[in-house]
C-alpha cells in the first residue's frame, strides 16, 4: 500500500488557544530564558540537554504546539534500538540545499528535549526561522514513554516505529507496558498521521493493527544469512504472546531478538509481507583511505514501484532495519527512493554507534550497548571488527537504567573469549562477576572496594593493553559512552570521524 503525504501541505492550524493569546512578552521571556540556560548548561555539558526546553515550556506552556505547528513536515522516531540512527538517516534524506530539518539530540528525547530543539531555531517572538523558502521540517527522536505526551501537540506526523525490545525495565516495568502506552499514544495521533513500522516485529504489528492509522511497513526479504543456522535468531529473543489469545507466537525464521516471520498458532495475527523490503549484501570495502570508517554494507531496497541500492558506512543487521525505516519514511513523504538512498551514501552513523576514534595510534571503536539486544548485536560484529582488547563500561545513572541485570542475558562469550577485557563504570564489579561466570573461573584481578572503576582509569588500562595500530572496542551504556567520547577527544591526537 503506497501512502504518501506531501510535505508542507497540511499544516494544522495553531490549535493551542492559549498560545494565540500568549503575550509576546511571555514568548520573549521563554525563548530568552532558554537561550540563557543553554549557555549556562553549555559550560557544564552541552550534548543532550533538555534544560532550555524545560525552562521555555515552564514559562510558555503552549511552546510545543505553537512551534511544532509552524513545521512543514514532522517526523517522529520511536523504538527501543535504532532511534538515533534512524532519525539521523531521515534527517539526511529530508535535507534540501541550504536547509536542514530541525532535530533533537539523542540525550534529549523527552518532551522538553523537543522543545529545546525548536526553541533553538526560533526567534525571540516565538517564530521558527525559515532558511530558504517554506517551513522547516522537523525530525525528532522520542523516548518510549514520552510519545503519548508529544504526539497530541504535533500536527499530522509520520511516526516511525523501529522496534520494541526489552530495555530499562526499572523504568518501564515490562515491554508489554510500553505497548499499552503506545496504543494510547497512537489513538491520540493527529489526523493525517501515518505509521511506519517494522513488519518483522510482532509487538509493533499488533499495535498497528489496533491503532487504525494508515501504515506502511519495512522488513527483511527473508531469513538473514548471518545467523547460524540461517533464520535461527539468537539467544536474547524475548517471548511474545498473541494479544488476542495469549498463546506464544511461533516463528518460521527469526532475525534479531523477537523479530522475524511470526504467526499466532491459532491464527489471530501473522507477519504480512513488508511494503518495503531490505536485503543486506556483504560487507563492502575496508573503509576510506583515512581510516575514518569501517566500510559498510550494501542494502538493496525495494517496494511495489521502485528499487534502489544504499551504501552507507554502517554495519550490522540492526542498521539494515534502520535504513529501511528511514527510506520508508522518506518515500511516504513523497521523496524518491533513489534520492533517499543516495542521501546517506557513506554516512557512518551518529556518535557513539560504531564511532571510530584514533588515540595514540590505536583505533578506538565506540559502541552503545544498553540492553541484551544491542549488546548481542555488538557481539555479532565482533568477528568483523576483530578487536585486540575489549572495554566494557556500564553505568547506572538514570539515563542508563538503574538495574543492570540485563548484562547477564546478553551472550557475551563471543566478545570476551580469548581476549583481554577491561571493565569500567559505576557497575564495574557486576561486570567482573559476569565475566568470571562466563569464562569459567578465570577472573580479572579485583582492584577497588567501591566496586566502580572510573572511565578514565578503564580507558587508560585498555589502551595500554592495545598494541599500536591495534583496535580497542568499547561497548558502553549511554552515560559511559558519552564519558568515554569526551575522554577520547581530549587525549592527544584523537580525531573524531566527520559526521
Amino acid at each position: 500500500m503506497a501512502t504518501t503525504i506531501a510535505s508542507g501541505v497540511h499544516r494544522r492550524p495553531d490549535r493551542s488557544g492559549a498560545s494565540r493569546a500568549t503575550a509576546p512578552v511571555r514568548r520573549f521571556a521563554a525563548v530568552g530564558s532558554a537561550r540563557v540556560s543553554s549557555v549556562l548548561v553549555g559550560t557544564v555539558r552541552h550534548q543532550g540537554t533538555s534544560l532550555p526546553g524545560h525552562v521555555a515550556a515552564r514559562i510558555w506552556p503552549g511552546a510545543l504546539p505553537t512551534l511544532a505547528g509552524q513545521l512543514g513536515t514532522t517526523v517522529v522516531v520511536v523504538g527501543t534500538n535504532g532511534k538515533t540512527t534512524t532519525a539521523a538517516l531521515v534527517e539526511r534524506m529530508l535535507r534540501r540545499p541550504g536547509r536542514r530539518p530541525i532535530a533533537n539530540r539523542s540525550g534529549a528525547n523527552m518532551e522538553q528535549g523537543i522543545v529545546t530543539s525548536l526553541v533553538r531555531e526560533s526567534d525571540l517572538h516565538g517564530r521558527l526561522r525559515r532558511p530558504g523558502e517554506g517551513a522547516p521540517d522537523g525530525v525528532f527522536e522520542v523516548d518510549e514513554l514520552a510519545l503519548e505526551h508529544v504526539l497530541p501537540a504535533l500536527g499530522p506526523t509520520v511516526i516511525v516505529a523501529t522496534n520494541l525490545f526489552r530495555d530499562q525495565l526499572d523504568r518501564y516495568g515490562e515491554a508489554d507496558s510500553i505497548v499499552d502506552r503506545w496504543a494510547i499514544a497512537l489513538a491520540a495521533a493527529p489526523d493525517g498521521s501515518v505509521l511506519i513500522h517494522c513488519a518483522d516485529d510482532p509487538r509493533l504489528s499488533m499495535l498497528a493493527a489496533g491503532s487504525g492509522l494508515p501504515s506502511r511497513t519495512f522488513g527483511l526479504t527473508g531469513p538473514p544469512a548471518d545467523r547460524n543456522p540461517p533464520g535461527s535468531g539468537d539467544a536474547v529473543a524475548d517471548p511474545v504472546a498473541c494479544r488476542t489469545c495469549g498463546h506464544q507466537l511461533a516463528y518460521r525464521w527469526r532475525s534479531i531478538g523477537h523479530l522475524g516471520d511470526f504467526a499466532c498458532p491459532v491464527g489471530h495475527i501473522r507477519r504480512r509481507p513488508p511494503d518495503m523490503t531490505v536485503r543486506p549484501g556483504p560487507w563492502a570495502g575496508q573503509g576510506d583511505a583515512a581510516g575514518r570508517t569501517l566500510g559498510g554494507i550494501e542494502l538493496v531496497l525495494e517496494d511495489a514501484t521502485s528499487a534502489a541500492v544504499a551504501r552507507p558506512a554502517l554495519l550490522g543487521l540492526g542498521n539494515a532495519y534502520n535504513v529501511a525505516a528511514a527510506v520508508a519514511a522518506a518515500t511516504a513523504l513523497g521523496r524518491g527512493m533513489e534520492g533517499s538512498a543516495d542521501a546517506i551514501s557513506g554516512y557512518a552513523g551518529p556518535y557513539g554507534r560504531l564511532e571510530r576514534l584514533e588515540i595514540d595510534g590505536r583505533h578506538l571503536i565506540l559502541m552503545l550497548a544498553k540492553n541484551p539486544v544491542s549488546l548481542g548485536e555488538t557481539v555479532r560484529l565482533e568477528s568483523l571488527l576483530a578487536p585486540d582488547v575489549v572495554l566494557l563500561a556500564v553505568n547506572d545513572a538514570p539515563a542508563d537504567g538503574r538495574d543492570v541485570s540485563w548484562i547477564w542475558d546478553a551472550p557475551i562469550a563471543g566478545l570476551v573469549a580469548d581476549r583481554d577485557v577491561v571493565v569500567a563504570g559505576s557497575r564495574a564489579s557486576d561486570l567482573r562477576l559476569r565475566l568470571k561466570y562466563d569464562r569459567a573461573g578465570t577472573a580479572p584481578a579485583p582492584s577497588s572496594i567501591s566496586g566502580s572503576i572510573s572511565l578514565a582509569a578503564g580507558l587508560e588500562a585498555a589502551l595500554e593493553r592495545t598494541p599500536r595500530g591495534g583496535t580497542l572496542l568499547a561497548a558502553a551504556t549511554y552515560t559511559a559512552m558519552m564519558g568515554l567520547r569526551v575522554l577520547a577527544q581530549r587525549q592527544g591526537d584523537a580525531q573524531p570521524a566527520p559526521r
Partner: protein, 296 residues
C-alpha cells in the same frame, strides 16, 4: 548434579539465567559434574533433578506458566518431596504459591508449592528499586552449614564477609503475603520486599518442613540474585547435593569478587537511600529529571 531451568523460553527476564550459571559454575569448581537441562512450555514430563530453578517474566507469560503448572505442578511437588531443591524468583515465586490474582483481577491456578499468596490486582504502583535485606535465622543456619562454620560465625579467613545480608533489585507489581507459619527468607532493611508493608522478603522452607524433603526458596530479588549472594548459592547447592539430608560442607572458593560486588552494592544502596530510609519518591522525582535534563 542436575539443574533444571523451568520455562526459560518464557520466564527469563531480568538476567535470571545468571542464577543457573552461578549455581553450575560454583558446583563445577568443587569438582562436581553438573548438567543443566531446560523444560520449555509444552513439555509433558519433568525430568528428575537435584535443583529446580524458575525465574521471572511478564504478567502475560505468567498466565502461560500457570497453565503449564496445572499439568506439571504435581510432578514438581513429587520431585521436591523426594529432596530436590527449589529456587523461585519473582514471577516463578508468584506462580508457585497457593494463590495468585493477576493485574486484571483473575485468579490463576497455583500448585501451592510455596506457602505464599500474591495479589497483583488494582493499579497500584510497581515496587521497584534496590534491596538490602538481612537473612533470617533459618536461612543463616543453612548458609553457615554450607560454608562450614557450625556456630554461624564466618571462618576466620572470611571475617569481613557480610554473610548476614542479601543484595538485589526488585521490580514487581504483585504484593505477596506469607502464610502464618511460613518464615521469610530475609527482613528488608532497604526496599519493599514481599509487599512493602510487613518488612519481609521472600520465603524459605527448610528441608523436611511441610512434608517435603527439598529446600524451597522464593524471592523477589533480581540482580541476578546468586552472583552477589554466593552464600545463598552455596546453601542451595549443598541442599541439592544431599536431597534434603545433612548438607555437606562445600570446599571454600575464592569469593573475593563476589563479596566485593556485594559490599559495593550494599554501600551504594545505603548511600543512595540515606540512613535507614529509602529516598522519598518526591526527592527522587526532583533529582532524576534534573539529571535527565542536563543529560547526565
Amino acid at each position: 548434579m542436575r539443574i533444571v531451568h523451568l520455562f526459560p523460553d518464557v520466564l527469563r527476564f531480568y538476567g535470571d539465567g545468571g542464577n543457573v550459571a552461578t549455581l553450575a559454575q560454583r558446583a563445577r569448581l568443587r569438582s562436581i559434574d553438573v548438567e543443566v537441562a531446560e523444560v520449555t512450555v509444552g513439555a509433558g514430563r519433568l525430568p528428575l533433578a537435584d535443583l529446580f530453578f524458575i525465574g521471572g517474566g511478564q504478567d502475560r507469560e505468567q498466565v502461560t506458566v500457570a497453565g503449564e503448572l496445572e499439568r506439571l505442578g504435581g510432578q514438581l511437588m513429587d520431585r521436591v518431596a523426594d529432596g530436590a531443591a527449589l529456587l523461585a524468583v519473582c514471577g516463578g515465586y508468584q506462580n508457585l504459591g497457593t494463590a495468585y490474582r493477576t493485574a486484571l483481577g483473575s485468579d490463576l491456578p497455583c500448585p501451592g508449592l510455596l506457602p505464599v499468596s500474591t495479589d497483583a490486582a488494582g493499579r497500584r504502583r510497581r515496587l521497584v528499586g534496590p534491596v538490602v535485606a538481612r537473612i533470617g535465622g533459618p536461612a543463616l543456619e543453612l548458609v553457615s552449614g554450607a560454608m562450614g562454620a557450625p556456630d554461624g560465625r564466618p571462618d576466620p579467613g572470611r571475617e569481613a564477609w557480610p554473610v548476614r545480608t542479601l543484595v538485589g533489585f526488585e521490580n514487581h507489581g504483585g504484593r505477596t503475603t506469607l502464610a502464618l507459619d511460613a518464615a521469610p527468607l530475609a527482613d528488608v532493611a532497604i526496599g519493599y520486599g514481599n509487599n512493602g508493608i510487613d518488612g519481609t522478603e521472600g520465603v524459605l522452607i527448610r528441608p523436611g518442613e511441610g512434608g517435603l524433603r527439598g529446600l524451597r526458596i522464593g524471592t523477589y530479588l533480581h540482580g541476578p540474585l546468586l552472583p552477589r549472594n554466593p552464600h545463598l548459592a552455596d546453601a542451595l547447592i549443598a541442599a541439592a547435593l544431599t536431597a534434603g539430608g545433612t548438607p555437606p560442607r562445600l570446599a571454600p572458593l575464592d569469593d573475593t569478587l563476589e563479596w566485593e560486588a556485594h559490599r559495593a552494592a550494599r554501600e551504594r544502596i545505603r548511600a543512595a537511600s540515606g540512613s535507614r530510609h529509602r529516598t522519598p519518591d518526591w526527592v527522587r522525582g526532583l533529582v532524576d529529571p534534573v539529571r535527565n535534563l542536563i543529560g547526565y
